[in-house]
Symmetry: C2
Subunit: 275 residues, 2 copies
């Protein structure tokens, strides 16, 4: 495994990597969710690049960019099976006169996009850059960030980027909490309270299995459950079309049920697709 | 030469073309300006793709999209030395649910961007798509559309697109009028009047050669000259930084002198770089 920090070196090495090339873009502080992507990408491709880059443009001014957790040594130890770990500086990705961006329209304005204005523009822009630099055959993302996966699939399809986007299931702690680098912000009590997201998603799945077709009832039942947890504050509880992310009136199979909930000051997201 | 109309077929054939690949994107109705790009691209690359696509998203609602001149048979006859002529339909490039965009910030908001809001967003988006589909080694553009060349260089640099942008000199009629598909809109009197753009640019070049350093005087002198032509109406007369396109107070070598002038209802642009 080799660590590469400049775009120029990454491009040079890219030319020597045997295709197909798997790519796992991350913001570091790796957990089992990331490692499931790495494992799959390793199994499906003779070459593997993992990137670690905490992307400033996807954080809002009052968000946790400066506190975002990092442990590069630990990350690199976990990535020994990658061919290349690409760790560009912010100046490489956003040089002083940088002014271009990639936007995605309505699908990026709902849910996370409504709570975090500009977030997906930042995501789409950095992902476009990384794809252009790394030129992967397949790029791997987690279902935990469901809207991010939708947005990235959309720019890849719309802009005819020459790669396949692979989305893999959310990896969970034994009690159901979705793995996330931000879980490290939770204190003991908050960690216990955080399971309420998964419980609410399980409730939605159960209501749907029992024949509930009214999306508003499912949203309301999830909201009621979460409101019983004193440490939790809901940003949104959504039952939406999985492609357009428009809120549904009548639930259909494949609907995306998603949540954003603050546990203390820690904002967590999770989702489940109704089967 | 083979005509390709679908993205799927273009991708497939792309894989068989010998690199490096030259690419000339056009909106058709080809003239000597386009052909100078084709000739250079042919000379510099073993493979050559030319695209013909009148891009709806770069036209404003009151602009000439529907009237834009076309003569595909003539164009194809002129392109016999290309390997591939890529002529996608609007539905291929913008399918019904299309919603992604590439934007370029301030450099796209001045001059043409100020007169034609959204124009460069349309240009940047279609060019990003075409680059992703065709995957050229080098793409060729004319200096006549100076701001377009600046915008495209900017997105290629910012988004780390893996190609070289080559900009070639404006090709002119014997009296100096820059070649343009839109010259076909001019009637006989307008065609005679249209030479005033080139005359004004020559005046700017002459003033600069004689030591004039005040940009406002150069702008004013050009304006005065153009206003003497009864059929001409100025959109802008600019002396700007060639990278940022900010208007200059004091002229420096390399400054971009550019004009947009309506001759009757026909809007023409032209420019010269002060040497």
């Amino acid at each position: 495994m080799k660590v590469v920090t400049t775009i120029a070196e990454m491009r040079k090495i890219r030319a020597s990597l045997k295709p197909p090339l798997g790519f796992v873009p991350t913001m570091g502080y790796l957990h089992q969710g990331h490692l499931s992507l790495v494992k799959k990408a390793r199994a499906e491709n003779p070459s593997l690049v993992v990137s670690i880059f905490v992307n400033p443009t996807q954080f809002g001014p009052r968000e946790d960019f400066k506190q975002y957790p990092h442990d590069t040594e630990h990350d690199l130890a976990l990535l020994e099976k990658a061919d290349i770990v690409f760790m560009p500086t912010a100046d490489e990705i956003y040089p002083p006169a940088f002014s271009s961006w990639v936007g995605v329209g309505k699908v990026s304005e709902r849910l996370e996009g409504a709570c975090r204005p500009g977030h997906f523009r930042g995501v789409a822009t950095v992902v476009a850059e990384l794809f252009n630099i790394v030129q992967p055959t397949r790029a791997y993302f987690g279902q935990k960030d469901a809207q991010q996966a939708v947005v990235i699939k959309k720019i890849v399809a719309d802009l005819n980027m020459n790669l396949e986007v692979v989305v893999l299931p959310t990896v969970r702690e034994p009690d159901g909490l979705a793995m996330s680098s931000r879980n490290s912000y939770l204190n003991h009590k908050q960690r216990q309270a955080a399971v309420v997201l998964y419980q609410a998603l399980c409730l939605a799945q159960k209501l749907w299995s029992q024949g509930e077709k009214d999306a508003q009832i499912i949203r309301q039942q999830m909201t009621n459950l979460i409101q019983k947890e004193p440490l939790a504050k809901i940003d949104y509880a959504s039952v939406a079309d999985p492609q357009t992310l428009e809120e549904l009136d009548r639930v259909e199979a494949g609907a995306l049920v998603s949540l954003a909930v603050k546990i203390g000051k820690v904002r967590l997201i999770d989702n489940v697709v109704l089967e």
